[in-house]
């Protein structure tokens, strides 16, 4: 019995380690390969990109070498990204300018919507909520074309507002926050109402502090979602100088693989930092999803 127990645990650990390695490997590869020189990268990964480009020449090695430890550590890629030209950094700031307003505004709008969903007891409430859920389940590409048409009609097509407005009113956070706010006991709100506080005061002083973990988790998820968006800027923003860095990373070609590694490493950092900062909240927020009230 004991043996089985330890065997089971050992096996589980092994499987967990295997999966952990499988998930971590791309990230570790990216970070460690960002310290390689371009020649080493093309020697190791040349076949991948050249075959994709349709080249029929044979290369030195037909297989791809996954190298975790560079032969020669060099910061040449980072120097190209950070110092040689400010292009990449400008794109980074483009990303930031797009994402930060979206996150802040979405959290604000969603919290208000969620509060109204909890407090409003009208007939259409369930229908509207259902509508929101359906929207949340649809992939973004479904609403892309209507988005484009509406943006064009509103005249905001080539501006950043074309991305921020739809982002502001996304239904996912509404859903999460409603779920969370429903957990607040109604008696609390009634008591506050009796004491003469307005709706806004109830919202600000009672609901929001309770929902802090949920707000944090929503912020993180939304940030990650919009930090990585590619098709929205491609379609709705036509100027090249407004494109965020995610778009650039999606269009690397064979010559710039090393550069892409370095850019990806830098691009990862804000997400990582945000996650580390609000880790506990995130775990709490997701754990509370659908768990027992209280």
């Amino acid at each position: 019995m004991r043996k089985n127990y330890y065997l089971g645990r050992g096996l589980l650990t092994l499987v967990a380690v295997f999966f952990a390695f499988a998930f971590l490997m791309p990230t570790v590869l990216t970070i460690s390969n960002s310290f390689m020189t371009q020649s080493e990268i093309s020697a190791n990964y040349g076949t991948v990109f050249s075959n994709a480009a349709g080249n029929t020449n044979t290369y030195i090695s037909d297989t791809v070498n996954l190298k975790f430890i560079p032969d020669k550590v060099s910061l040449s890629q980072y120097i190209t990204v950070l110092i040689k030209s400010p292009d990449y950094l400008l794109k980074f700031w483009n990303s930031v300018i797009l994402v930060v307003p979206i996150v802040l505004l979405q959290v604000g709008v969603a919290s208000i919507t969620a509060y109204s969903f909890t407090r409003w007891r009208g007939k259409l409430r369930s229908f509207l909520f259902f509508f929101y859920v359906i929207l949340m389940l649809m992939p973004y590409q479904v609403t892309l074309v209507p988005n484009y048409l509406v943006s064009d009609w509103l005249g905001i097509l080539n501006t950043r507002w074309a991305i921020i407005f739809p982002g502001m009113f996304a239904p996912f956070s509404v859903f999460l926050l409603t779920k969370f706010m429903r957990r607040i006991p109604a008696s609390l709100i009634e008591a506050a109402k009796l004491d003469g506080s307005s709706e806004w005061q109830i919202f600000k002083d009672i609901c929001l502090p309770q929902c802090r973990s949920a707000l944090y988790s929503i912020a993180i998820l939304v940030f990650i979602d919009y930090w990585n968006m590619v098709e929205q800027p491609l379609v709705l923003l036509q100027d090249a100088e407004k494109q965020p860095l995610s778009v650039y990373l999606s269009t690397i070609n064979a010559n710039e693989v090393g550069l892409a590694f370095a850019i990806a490493t830098i691009y990862m950092v804000p997400c990582l930092l945000l996650f580390l900062h609000g880790e506990d909240y995130l775990v709490e927020g997701i754990a509370h999803q659908g768990s027992v009230k209280g």
Partner: protein, 452 residues
């Protein structure tokens, strides 16, 4: 407390995030500045015209344009491979080491070598009293040994060697033709060196001037001496003598002219056809025409080029032989035969000597006539006049000497260039001979290789 730890951690992460964003912000603004500071300084220059080269730069992976298969005609074992996949090689690098296939001939030759060696050793040990004969036998054995070694070496022959030898032969022949062309070109340059010829003409002219000026100075000094020692200058007889000599020289010139003027005309034609810029001489008239200094130079160059020197008389003995070695071979003129050229040479020589003779006698006579006025007047007047004439003659002499020096310098310069050319020609001819020898040996090599 856990909460404190968590908040500490959060603070830390907040700090890190702020630092990260701050660094990126700074780099966004100042990356170009930092980049420019790390660039090398450039120098500015004035605008100038030049050519613009259009260059296209790209990057990619280099692959071989063609592969070369090393084909061996015999099967040989690869002993070791010295390079590996991905190495960069350059011409001359060792790629792999082959093993020798020991042929039967090789084995036989080696065996023979061994037996002969043993025999040689035996002979060394059995030195007989007759040292001479044993020495001779040692010598013959040594020769046999050498022959056996050579045979062994020579037996290891492959078709590749024959083809290499043939290739070498082809290249050697090519080089030979190249050298031959070079030599011809240089020879042409040598003879066409106009500067040299002009310089030479100037030198001859000024030498003559210098010598005549010197004679004038000498005469005046003598006259002055004579005067100082008493007595007047008696010119009348001298003038009469000079006049007769002059007339005689003129007659000789005239007769020579009548004899050789047609030859001279043809010679001038031939020289012009050869590319020299001679001025024409009127050979239709009976009055002797002067051959100008430049013409002389050109004609002489033409004649030295084409006229083969007459062989020295056999009575000269060793002296004659040395002379014959010093003379260089003459080129061949397509339109004229050697006999015609010889005739031209004689004509030219005769005319030129007659002309020079007349010229010198004329100057002597003129000077004497000039000096006739010195004969009149008192001794002191005469002395003064002669002194004046002497001073004039001396300054003329100095001027002529100066000019002569300049002309000689110019000639040296031109000669310098000429000598450089001559040295080059010598080098090339030596190379040619070497190349011929090389081709010989290569031919022999190929013959022996093919026999095997």
């Amino acid at each position: 407390m856990e909460v404190k730890e968590k908040s500490k951690k959060r603070e830390l992460i907040k700090t890190i995030a702020i630092i990260f964003l701050a660094v990126l912000l700074v780099l966004t603004f100042f990356s170009n500045t930092i980049m420019n500071r790390s660039l090398p300084e450039v120098a500015t220059g004035m605008v100038s015209s030049g050519t613009i080269n259009a260059k296209i730069r790209g990057s990619g992976t280099v692959s071989a344009n063609e592969t070369y298969e090393v084909i061996l005609n015999q099967t040989r074992e690869v002993r070791s491979v010295c390079v590996k996949v991905g190495d960069t090689v350059s011409q001359g690098d060792l790629l792999f080491v082959l093993g020798d296939v020991e042929s039967q001939e090789l084995q036989d030759a080696q065996n023979q070598l061994q037996t002969l060696n043993i025999e040689y050793q035996k002979q060394l040990l059995n030195l007989s009293k007759e040292y001479a004969t044993s020495d001779l036998s040692i010598k013959t054995l040594q020769e046999d040994l050498q022959k056996a070694i050579q045979q062994r070496d020579a037996n290891v022959v492959t078709d590749a060697e024959i083809s290499y030898a043939k290739g070498d032969l082809a290249t050697a022949k090519n080089e030979l033709t190249q050298i031959g062309l070079m030599v011809d070109e240089l020879n042409a340059m040598l003879t066409d060196n106009e500067e040299y010829q002009e310089a030479q003409a100037a030198v001859t002219k000024w030498t003559q001037e210098v010598s005549s000026a010197e004679t004038a100075v000498e005469t005046y000094e003598k006259q002055l001496e004579k005067l100082q020692n008493g007595g007047s200058v008696d010119l009348d007889r001298q003038i009469a003598d000079a006049k007769t000599a002059l007339e005689k020289a003129k007659n000789t010139w005239r007769s020579e002219w009548l004899a050789y003027k047609s030859d001279l005309g043809a010679l001038i034609e031939a020289v012009r056809n050869d590319g020299y810029s001679v001025t024409s001489i009127n050979t239709g008239t009976d009055t002797p025409q002067e051959i100008s200094g430049n013409n002389q130079v050109y004609i002489e160059a033409f004649l030295t080029k084409y006229v083969s020197p007459t062989p020295p008389t056999t009575g000269g003995g060793t002296g004659g032989e040395e002379e014959a070695e010093v003379q260089t071979s003459a080129a061949v003129n397509s339109s004229l035969s050697q006999d015609e050229l010889q005739d031209y040479q004689t004509a030219y020589d005769a005319l030129l000597s007659a002309q020079n003779d007349v010229a010198s006698k004329q100057t002597a006579y003129d000077r004497l006539v000039d000096d006739q006025d010195i004969a009149t007047g008192s001794a002191s007047e005469q002395r003064r006049a002669i002194q004046r004439k002497l001073d004039e003659a001396e300054s003329e002499l100095r001027a002529a000497q100066r000019e002569l020096r300049d002309a000689e310098d110019a000639l040296e310069e031109a000669d310098g260039a000429n000598s450089a050319l001559k040295d080059q020609i010598k080098l090339y001819e030596a190379a040619k001979r070497e190349q011929d020898a090389r081709i010989e040996t290569l031919n022999n090599q190929i013959a022996t290789l093919e026999e095997k």
